[in-house]
């Protein structure tokens, strides 16, 4: 009898420990959900609405891989792009147009001092150049100006085949949170259509490639490409198409005989 009572007490104690553990785990889950903006004590009337609206909390801890900066507030608009004016690492001044141009531009905001940036300095200097996120895309490296960066260090790191410009104003204009950071500018519209960071160029390229697809910038056919062209780019395209067809300047087909219905009309005739 005594043994039975002892065994029963042990079982009760064990179950008590189990219940306490479950309650503690439940409390931790509730706390984590609360941190993510989900409050189960609001009632049961609005679970569908809560599902439709992503939970947002300023206190929610954003987690990224080590060395990867946190993205800016996802609700903040990316906005209009601005052209770049700055200094050259080896002395001189530069102006890089990214708005109103016919191509997209990847702005790679890098630093000579950050560890993660080293991966991108190397990737962008790879022989043959880096694989780009989309067709007709230019990469420009942007560092802080010489007051905040070592021009000599940047000059050592800068790939020969990629324009590198030093301008702290661009970091302010684009509200770059930290380096490394990448923005994709759509030239024709002059707007930022994608941004983010990663631990490798492949990650960033995929990220920006999705931004290109989301923004409908993937110029997979001539019609789409032509529709987005400005006047000069369109003229270039027409020239190249005609040259490919063997029609050079002065080709007879460009100067057809007047239509018979115009035969009796001379310049200046009434």
């Amino acid at each position: 009898m005594a043994a039975l009572v002892v065994a029963l007490a042990l079982v009760v104690a064990l179950l008590g420990v189990l219940v306490i553990g479950l309650l503690r785990s439940h409390a931790e889950i509730l706390r984590a959900l609360h941190d993510l903006g989900v409050n189960l004590e609001d009632g049961v009337a609005a679970p569908a609405a809560r599902r439709r609206t992503p939970a947002v909390s300023n206190r929610a801890p954003m987690r990224t891989s080590e060395g990867v900066p946190r993205p800016r507030d996802e609700n903040a608009p990316m906005g209009d792009a601005v052209d770049l004016t700055g200094e050259l690492p080896l002395g001189g001044a530069a102006r890089v147009a990214v708005t109103g141009v016919g191509h997209a531009t990847v702005l790679a905001f890098l630093s000579s001092g950050c560890g993660t940036c080293g991966v991108f300095w190397e990737a962008l200097a790879a022989p043959g150049g880096p694989e780009l996120p989309g067709p007709d895309t230019r990469v420009v490296i942007v560092t802080n100006g010489p007051k905040a960066e070592s021009a000599a260090a940047v000059a050592d790191l800068a790939p020969k085949a990629i324009v590198t410009i030093m301008t702290s104003a661009a970091w302010d204009d684009y509200r770059v949170p930290v380096s490394p950071y990448f923005l994709l500018v759509d030239g024709p519209s002059g707007t930022v259509v994608g941004e983010g960071s990663g631990t490798s160029w492949d990650q960033v390229r995929d990220l920006l490639g999705r931004a290109i697809a989301d923004a409908g910038l993937a110029r997979s056919d001539d019609h789409n490409r032509l529709a987005r062209m400005g006047g000069q780019d369109r003229a270039d395209w027409v020239d190249s198409e005609m040259q490919a067809a063997g029609i050079e300047p002065g080709h007879p087909s460009l100067y057809p005989e007047p239509h018979p219905s115009h035969g009796g009309i001379e310049d200046g005739a009434p």
Binding site: T85, P89, L90, G92, A97, I162, T164
Partner: protein
């Protein structure tokens, strides 16, 4: 118009234009290391201005090799190269002041490196005792009229001051 200035040289750039002014002694264009170098004439030892109506590639020769290859038919490239100060005393640089850029002055034969359809212009001059070569390329010789007029308008915004 955006003004870009360095090394006593400034230029007003239309929208969509790229430009770089390399200080004397800078090696941005990798003249000696670049395979593009042999295509150029004697490289400048002074400041170099490149302005283009298109995305200027990072690797360029002083006379625009590397850039003219990616120009379109309606593009313009302006190169301003400063020479050794002693050259100002030579007959080649006798002309004073920025030259006018006229339609009749352009010729495919004036290209540093012949490119199909393109046309070039080159003049030597000095301003404030600084000797320069102005080299301009337009993307299409036959339809060069409006391109040359645009190039002339940009060239006329170039300002050069004496070296301090």
């Amino acid at each position: 118009m955006i003004r870009l200035a360095n090394s006593g040289i400034s230029i007003d750039l239309p929208r969509r234009w790229d430009a770089q002014i390399r200080s004397a002694g800078g090696e941005l264009t990798s003249r000696s290391a670049s395979p593009l170098a042999p295509l150029d004439a004697t490289p400048s030892t002074g400041s170099v201005l490149h302005a283009g109506s298109f995305a200027l590639p990072a690797e360029r020769g002083d006379y625009g090799s590397g850039a003219v290859e990616v120009m379109g038919g309606s593009d313009i490239l302006i190169c301003l190269l400063e020479h050794e100060p002693e050259a100002a005393a030579t007959a080649l640089f006798r002309r004073e002041g920025l030259p006018s850029v006229g339609v009749a002055d352009f010729s495919p034969e004036s290209m540093q490196r012949a490119m199909p359809g393109m046309s070039g212009f080159q003049r030597f001059f000095q301003v404030a005792g600084r000797p320069f070569c102005l080299y301009v390329v337009v993307g299409h010789h036959v339809t060069r009229g409006p391109l040359v007029r645009s190039a002339h308008a940009v060239v006329q915004t170039i300002s050069i001051v004496p070296k301090s």
